[in-house]
């Protein structure tokens, strides 16, 4: 168990270093960063001074180590566009994105898994066929279009829900939340549905496919042959085996949610990290781009670790006690 976690941690660190390297190289490709920081009228001495202060006169590997050191301490530099420290901007933006992603993920799981199980168990039923066709429409609808349509119907035509922004948020320490005010809660409904719809259909189709796969196995047939109730076979034996791959994919999909939040945040002008990143790309704001990258990679690594641990908890085959294997 411990060895497993250590191995995973080492892998995660390698991935993080690789991402940090990519983020760092962004700076290298953009020409002289000094030009971005001081005006073209600055004197050669000022430039040299700044260069030395930032360590830009040092060789490449030293600069990289310096960069990694800064990142570990949570220092990401200063945004070219906003002139603020990137870490301050990120702290300000992080809660908006995480709350949106969390609500969307819960929504996708709460609807997707039961629908997947249902359509897997009643594969020839009319409702299942309808759901399956609808799910295909679901994965054919781009996220931004869902957002636009929801805005058109619920904000423009019906006027029920706000079409942009977070509404009224309440600060709890450095965190800001949507859930303590009615206005904030109303504001998150449309973005969360927009973000979750694609994942919902994906999870449903995945759970259905896995369920069908598992229901064909010998151990399910044997469980039926032992006269176990349908409930025990379907929800005890089949569902648990279905969940093993579903956990992995769901983990990956949370990563996808963070990425797709970029789109949702753009459509709804949601003040999260995704919107920040997109604006950074358009303005070639390298410090923001690279720190978004590092932060998102960090979130992904954490999610993957959690997924691995969950896997471990669900599947006894991974908890192999080598001594007991093959004992006759």
């Amino acid at each position: 168990m411990l060895a497993f976690i250590v191995r995973r941690l080492i892998q995660s660190i390698i991935v993080m270093l690789a991402v940090a390297f990519i983020a760092f190289s962004l700076f290298q490709f953009t020409g002289d960063p000094i030009n971005n920081m001081v005006g073209p009228e600055a004197s050669a001495e000022t430039r040299q001074l700044l260069r030395e202060r930032l360590g830009l006169d040092k060789p490449f590997p030293i600069q990289f180590l310096h960069f990694v050191g800064n990142v570990v301490q949570g220092e990401f530099g200063v945004s070219y566009r906003l002139g603020m420290k990137v870490e301050d901007i990120l702290v300000q933006r992080l809660p908006a994105t995480l709350e949106l992603v969390a609500v969307a993920a819960l929504l996708a799981l709460a609807v997707g898994v039961p629908l997947g199980v249902y359509t897997g168990l009643h594969r020839y039923g009319a409702v299942s066929r309808l759901m399956l066709t609808l799910s295909l429409v679901g994965i054919s609808l781009p996220t931004f279009l869902i957002g636009i349509l929801l805005i058109l119907v619920f904000a423009v035509w019906l006027g029920w829900l706000p079409s942009f922004g977070r509404g009224k948020v309440v600060s709890i320490g450095w965190w800001t939340t949507n859930f303590t005010s009615w206005d904030g809660f109303r504001s998150i409904i449309l973005p969360a549905i927009t973000l979750s719809l694609f994942q919902m259909t994906l999870i449903m189709r995945l759970v259905r496919a896995e369920m069908l796969e598992v229901l064909r196995t010998d151990y399910i047939k044997f469980a039926r042959a032992r006269g176990l109730t349908n409930r025990a076979v379907n929800f005890g034996h089949a569902l648990k085996n279905t969940l093993v791959p579903v956990i992995t994919i769901t983990g990956l999909q949370i990563g996808a949610l963070i990425a797709f939040a970029i789109i949702t945040e753009t459509v709804f002008q949601w003040p999260g990290m995704g919107l920040l990143f997109l604006q950074a790309i358009q303005f070639v704001d390298i410090p923001v781009m690279s720190s978004y990258l590092v932060l998102v990679a960090f979130l992904f690594v954490i999610i993957n670790l959690v997924v691995d641990l969950l896997y471990y908890a669900v599947d006894p085959r991974l908890r192999i006690d080598r001594a007991a294997v093959g004992a006759h």
Binding site: R226, G227, A232
Partner: protein, 328 residues
Amino acid sequence: MRANRPLLEVDRLRVEFPTRRGTLVAVDEISFHIDPGEVLGVVGESGAGKSLTGSAIIGLLEPPGRIAGGRILFDGSRIDDLPYEQMRRIRGKQIGAVFQDPLTSLNPLYSVGRQLIETITTHLDLSEGQARKRAIELLAEVGIPAPERRIDQYPHQFSGGMRQRVVIALALCANPRLIIADEPTTALDVSIQAQIIALLKKLCREHGTAVMLVTHDMGVIAETADRVAVMYAGRIAEIGPARQVIKQPLHPYTVGLMGSIPMVGTDADRLVQIEGAMPRLTEIPPGCAFNPRCPKVFERCRHDRPDLIRVGPASTACWLYDGQAGHD
């Protein structure tokens, strides 16, 4: 002849698979019975319909396969047309099953004990604790050492032979009156096959359980079965007492089958081989299904399909014996 009512009676059972190129008849109007405590061996090449017959009896034919005709009676009452829930109560409780591959018959995510206890409490009115006690006894009975410790282990921690013992324990755990064992040793090492067969034989004798032993291994039949049914292309070619069928086979197919088994102590110079292969279900010839391969074929075999004809203690579906005795 028969003093008691048979435990299982299969009467003109027909199993069909509808496909887009017409309906395949996989089991073609076969009839046989099994008496209480008796071991009936069912032999034949793969595709002869042996396993499907077993699946039909326990009501677990996989769609699109279906029972298209005939009756199955268990202890005098029909079971082929029971609703799912009533049939479920019979499975495991009255009719147990052992499948071919012990590696895939057990749910990998649940401990052996959980699977046993679950089956016991489904059919018997026992508490969790009592069921666990019975599960340990059963494991000991099927020859698993240190059952108190091994009951909490997972299937992957058992070897193939040990897993098949667990499967047998699972099949026996509600004391069924009939066990359908579908190639229970085929997936095992040769050295372990004999042990498992001996165990099955011993347990069934002790519990008074009847067995329908599906296999393609004549050696297993010779050692275990009281009577044997030989199947060919979905039909019964010959059925009778095991010694009789092995020593004095009637049907030319059985003769060929016996001739192809190497026997220690007989001085046959070479093994007999049956020319050709069993026809595919789409290409079964009119008349006797064996006629294109039969060394003793004559005109009638190509047009009329033979019924089972009683010859001494056995019966065979072959025109060679027409007129020698009355129809069964």
